[in-house]
């Protein structure tokens, strides 16, 4: 992988990290030299932190924070411009009866619907994220993937969610993957790049840690757990491992990178557990929509219902939130 792009990514990195990106051999040596993940330990710690109870004012604050971190997502074959527009309306004002509810961070759609979303969100700080690079499988020629990205960016996407080629990763072709992420990053221009690892297909925590570092080395602004199309999607222990990676990356380089768990986070209780993990593993600095996002669709409704429960003093129901 003696491509000229490697020099660019090495800029500003400490020598040991810059050295890792020199060629495929050094990259492999670096990734395999990462300490292994203690599976029992990380699962126990994730379970332990999940037992924390967040109540009353803190809960309300956590709910508002989680709402501001949601990437409101619709990634169905049946998506229509109308559905995307109604989703955008919900992103602008999640609970029409309560204007004090914060807006979500972004709306996430397929590339061909980016233009619709951009139009519907004009004049708001809400970002438009687009999945790209042959989502969700990532199985296409690189030219096709790059064209996918360019189209999304040209249509106005401010964030691009790429999927990695899991086949290349699992067969050890790290160089190929590194180049690909860099090429996509270059094609993104000013748009933020989120790298979807699809942890459900990486099987082990060691692989998740390696893929995380690989994506960070190649310039991903965010690392994202899953496409939402594969089960298991986001889990707490996997997110722990990824949060450790961005935390360590910050310690080594001073750069702040984000994490986005996606898929399977459906209720407030789970979302709050993730926030606790973010605070404990990465640090309070990451409790910011710039550095932590939830990829979700049904989560927002549950957050809104719980918010109403907190404020109104009685349980709310799905009849009182919009149906998507």
């Amino acid at each position: 992988m003696a491509t000229p792009t490697t020099a660019r990514s090495g800029e500003g990195l400490p020598p040991e990290l810059a050295d890792a990106t020199r060629d495929e051999t050094t990259l492999r040596r670096f990734l395999h030299g990462l300490p292994g993940v203690d599976q029992v330990g990380v699962e126990q710690r994730a379970a332990g932190l999940a037992t924390r109870s967040i109540k009353k004012a803190s809960k309300l604050q956590a709910i508002d924070m989680a709402i501001a971190m949601v990437d409101l997502t619709t990634l169905e074959g049946a998506d229509t411009p109308g559905k995307v527009r109604s989703l955008c309306a919900k992103a602008r004002r999640p609970d029409p009866e309560r204007p004090d509810v914060p807006q979500v961070a972004a709306v996430c759609v397929y590339p061909d619907l980016v233009a619709t979303a951009v139009e519907a969100l004009r004049g708001t700080p809400i970002g438009v994220a687009s999945v790209a690079t042959a989502f969700p499988s990532g199985r296409a020629a690189r030219e096709v993937k790059l064209a996918d990205v360019k189209q999304a960016v040209a249509a106005g996407a401010s964030e691009v969610d790429m999927v990695i080629d899991r086949g290349a990763f699992l067969s050890g072709r790290y160089g190929l993957l590194f180049d690909e992420i860099q090429a996509v990053k270059a094609a993104c221009g000013d748009a933020h790049l989120k790298v979807i690892l699809e942890t459900g297909e990486l099987v082990t925590y060691d692989n998740v840690r390696r893929a995380s570092w690989l994506a960070l080395l190649a310039g991903g602004d965010f690392i994202k757990t899953s496409t939402g199309k594969v089960s298991p999607a986001a889990t707490l222990p996997v997110t722990h491992v990824m949060l450790q990676a961005v935390h360590d990356w910050h310690k080594a380089t001073g750069q702040l990178r984000g994490v986005k768990p996606a898929g399977g986070i459906r209720d407030t209780k789970t979302a709050v557990r993730y926030l606790v993990a973010v605070n404990e593993v990465a640090g309070p600095r990451w409790l910011d929509p710039k550095l932590f996002r939830f990829g979700a669709s049904s989560l927002l409704n549950d957050l809104l219902m719980q918010r109403r429960t907190q404020l109104e003093g009685h349980y709310s129901g799905p009849d009182y939130v919009t149906v998507d």
Partner: protein, 289 residues
Amino acid sequence: MSENRLGIAKTYKLYVGGAFPRSESGRSYPVNDSKGKFLANAAQASRKDAREAVVAARKAFPKWSGATAYNRGQVLYRVAELMEGRREQFVTEVAASEGVQTRRAQSLVDSAIDRWVWYAGWTDKIATVLGAANPVAGPYFSFTVPEPTGVVAVFAPQESSLLGLVSVVAPVIASGNTAVVVTSKERPLPSITLSEVLATSDVPGGVVNILTGSAVELAPWLASHADVNALDLTGAPTILRAELERAAAGTVKRVLRAPSAEPDWTKQPDISRLRAYLESKTVWHPLGV
């Protein structure tokens, strides 16, 4: 041998979503017979258990209300068969809880089983009786069909532990609603056995959820819960009833009022309880071309 054998004191659990969870609060309370002798421990449900039960009932509603009336009737009839199989257990529990003679308990249990069969028979007849093809002055059909209301919170009678329970729960589910039942606090054992019957019957999990514990504690939460569509106050604490109706009005629930003294449950019922949880939908159809 049997005199030396150590008795096994049971600690029962709740019945929510087809499973038997402990109370989220971890509490349980002793249940005594009519003479104050210890019978068993029952789980004492908290407001969060009530919340979970409503979630389970809501989840079960589309399938149960969408099942054909005939199918619902078959499922309910099967419950009566299973109750018949547990007749002895019911008789023992009713006799101990209500302090009645065995003969009287037998008669109460038989009435309860018959009551269940009676309501099972109504499932595919209620639409004909309460629905209508309305006469209209125009080239239209106008139909009125009864539809289930949704999730019904039922406060079961405090006195009649099985016959009363069956008389309030069966009409709710026969018409296609799902139920969250708060049982008699002092006499919960027959309801727990009924939950074991339901769990082994064909009634889908979540259609009936049974919470043992204090109605005083749970009632305000269920009455104000926005995802509960109707409230049966039969066994609700008398002093709270006005307050419960007020809370229920906040989300426009249907409320079935009840006299504070329990009626004679052995009397043959009419269909008023079935009607209480049905909404009438009227549809206008242009005549076919």
